[in-house]
């Protein structure tokens, strides 16, 4: 059990009696980079939020490292969608990153110099130390995304859940997100990432979770990222599958 960073059993989530996720069961082995793939409205964000207890679960069970999320908060870091917050909020980039340390600092205690140092170190890892003292609305979309990733990095977690970190970012941000994912895996840690670009799945991830309200498939990229599975996930909407890449996929399986 405990060699699974995340295990989900018979998970069902519904908004106003309309099922969004139905009977999902899968496991994510420790040390893997998992891409969650599926069409718009497939319930990808809802899946992450349900695992983290941000949306109510109708039935099923979610376990992080074999335990409930509330006992594993210190080992799980969450990177929400960039659009989920108001970037006009009066706060500096370095203060957003320090939020990742609040649980550790304690809710009633002030942020100290060493916490800010840790936050700056995380910004440096993301390559945006020079923007640490900027108000967050003065950052580009890619820089904002990197601030969110730095906030997760500073938590020094064992499992990272990321909601579309590649969405609408520039090439250099995309590159540094990929480097961070590699570093996470090299440290023996796990990342689960909602991803849109089918072209790069094979390059970025070693496991894939195909989702469309139900679980279509979950496994290694070679076993699962196949044209029949993609067609089942996307229905008739899938028109731009990268055929050479697919051919490599068939060779693997």
């Amino acid at each position: 059990m405990s060699d699974l960073a995340l295990s989900v059993e018979d998970l069902t989530v519904a908004y106003q009696s309309e099922p969004v996720l139905q009977d999902l069961s899968f496991g994510v082995p420790t040390g893997s980079l998992v891409g969650i793939i599926g069409p718009n409205g497939a319930g990808k964000s809802t899946l992450l939020k349900a695992c983290l207890g941000l949306v109510p679960i109708d039935s099923g069970e979610v376990r992080f490292f074999g335990a409930a999320h509330r006992d594993m908060r210190h080992r799980v870091a969450y990177v929400p969608q960039r659009e989920s917050v108001d970037w006009d909020f009066p706060i500096r980039a370095v203060d957003v990153v320090a939020m990742g340390l609040y649980r550790q600092i304690g809710w009633f205690w002030p942020v100290r110099r060493r916490h800010l140092r840790a936050a700056r170190a995380a910004l440096e890892r993301m390559g945006i130390l020079e923007f640490a003292d900027r108000q967050i609305s003065q950052l580009s979309g890619g820089q904002q995304q990197r601030v969110f990733l730095a906030r997760a990095l500073v938590q020094d977690a064992d499992l990272y859940l990321m909601d579309e970190p590649f969405s609408a970012v520039d090439a250099s941000t995309e590159q540094s997100v990929v480097e961070i994912l590699r570093a996470i895996q090299a440290a023996g840690k796990t990342a689960i990432v909602i991803h849109h670009d089918l072209q790069t799945v094979r390059e970025y991830f070693d496991r894939v979770l195909l989702l469309n309200r139900r679980l279509i498939a979950s496994g290694t990229v070679g076993d699962v990222f196949t044209e029949p599975n993609l067609r089942r996930a996307y229905g008739g909407r899938l028109v731009h599958v990268d055929r050479p890449a697919m051919a490599v996929g068939w060779g693997d399986s």
């Binding site: 939020k49 983290l52 207890g53 941000l54 509330r70 908060r73 799980v76 969450y78 929400p80 989920s84 917050v85 108001d86 909020f89 009066p90 706060i91 500096r92 203060d95 957003v96 939020m99 609040y102 649980r103 600092i105 809710w107 009633f108 205690w109 002030p110 942020v111 108000q135 906030r151």
Partner: protein
């Protein structure tokens, strides 16, 4: 006779006669205490106002303050039968808090049981409770004659109606609120900025919201006498909004808003103490509004004046670049040239 008096005495007589000099010179012990208390209130309201603004709950404070009026009227009626003096501040405040809580429950009930949006629920509750409050207060004043005089200070605010004892109550509520703002600043800021992340970090957003609303209710009831129910919202919103023009950091914004709120209350209540018939709520709000206007235009972070200058400078640069480019071009290619 008058020529024979030393100059200092004439000045002394003038001082004694002029309420403005007496008020602004803080010569009455009473005025001094009351002004100190309302300034503390302004500090607390400004500080907590930042978070109601960032949490987009500013109108909730407005609805709650208006909703406290019927409770005050009823408390005035009920107090004698409990063997308490009818104008005892704790009883009136107890009534205010209870009707404020009933109003909050009504707002939540309307939102959960109907499909009406929150602003509609706030509008309904605000106006209905305020209407009920006006009816009850006028009934109270008709039936109890002169003894109810001064209750209208809860509508418009009147510094002169505050006794030294009341000032003690105001300070006793304002100081802990300020401490609470300081201690919970981090948690409140996180919830206001990123609720989902706050919850995954193990923070109970419900508990955070309840403490915030409780602190807002506390500040409102404390401010009822000095500012009044109608304008209490101004003290929560205006200093916080003005502070936004001076900083882009929440922690600094809290300090700036608290200071601006304190200054507004200080000058507003001094003005109202000097001119006896001036409702202090209105004068406090007008002082706050002047500070807001100043901040909006000249505030260092987003002030209109600086933005206009930056815009002009940009336009000037673009023109210079365009002119320079044109000057570099061969004569025949210049626009308009032939």
């Amino acid at each position: 006779m008058i020529e024979g008096l030393p100059f200092g005495n004439v000045w002394g007589l003038a001082q004694a006669a002029n309420p403005w000099v007496r008020a602004f010179g803080l010569q009455d012990h009473n005025t001094r205490i009351v002004v100190l208390a309302t300034t503390l209130l302004g500090l607390a309201a400004g500080g907590i106002g930042v978070f109601t603004l960032l949490r987009r709950r500013a109108l909730m404070g407005d609805a709650l303050s208006h909703a406290m009026l019927p409770g005050i009227g009823l408390a005035f009626l009920v107090a004698p039968s409990l063997g308490l003096p009818e104008k005892s501040l704790p009883v009136l405040i107890g009534g205010a808090v209870i009707s404020g809580l009933v109003a909050a429950a009504a707002i939540l009930l309307i939102r959960w049981r109907t499909r009406l949006p929150e602003d509609a629920a706030l509008g309904i509750v605000l106006s209905v409770f305020f209407g009920a409050g006006l009816v009850i207060l006028s009934l109270v004043q008709q039936t109890s004659g002169g003894s109810a005089a001064g209750l209208e200070s809860f509508i418009y605010g009147k510094t002169a109606s505050i006794t030294i004892r009341d000032a003690g109550w105001i300070a006793a509520a304002a100081v802990p609120t300020l401490i609470l703002v300081g201690v919970l600043m981090k948690a409140w800021a996180l919830v206001c900025f990123d609720e989902g992340f706050a919850r995954t970090s193990g923070l109970s957003v419900g508990a955070v919201d309840i403490v915030m609303m409780a602190a807002v209710v506390l500040v409102i009831v404390t401010g009822l006498q000095a500012v009044g129910a109608i304008l209490m919202i101004a003290l929560l919103v205006i200093p916080a909004a003005a502070a936004r023009f001076w900083t882009h950091r929440v922690d600094v914004m809290v300090v700036v808003a608290a200071v601006l709120g304190g200054v507004s209350c200080l000058f507003g209540s001094l003005l109202s103490a000097a001119a006896e018939d001036l409702p202090s709520g209105a004068t406090i709000v007008l002082v706050a509004a002047a500070i807001f206007g100043f901040s909006m235009v000249l505030g260092s972070q987003r002030g209109l004046w600086w933005r206009l200058r930056a815009h002009r400078a940009r336009r000037e640069r673009t023109r210079e670049v365009a002119l320079a480019a044109q000057a570099d071009m061969p004569l025949g290619q210049r626009s308009g040239g032939s």
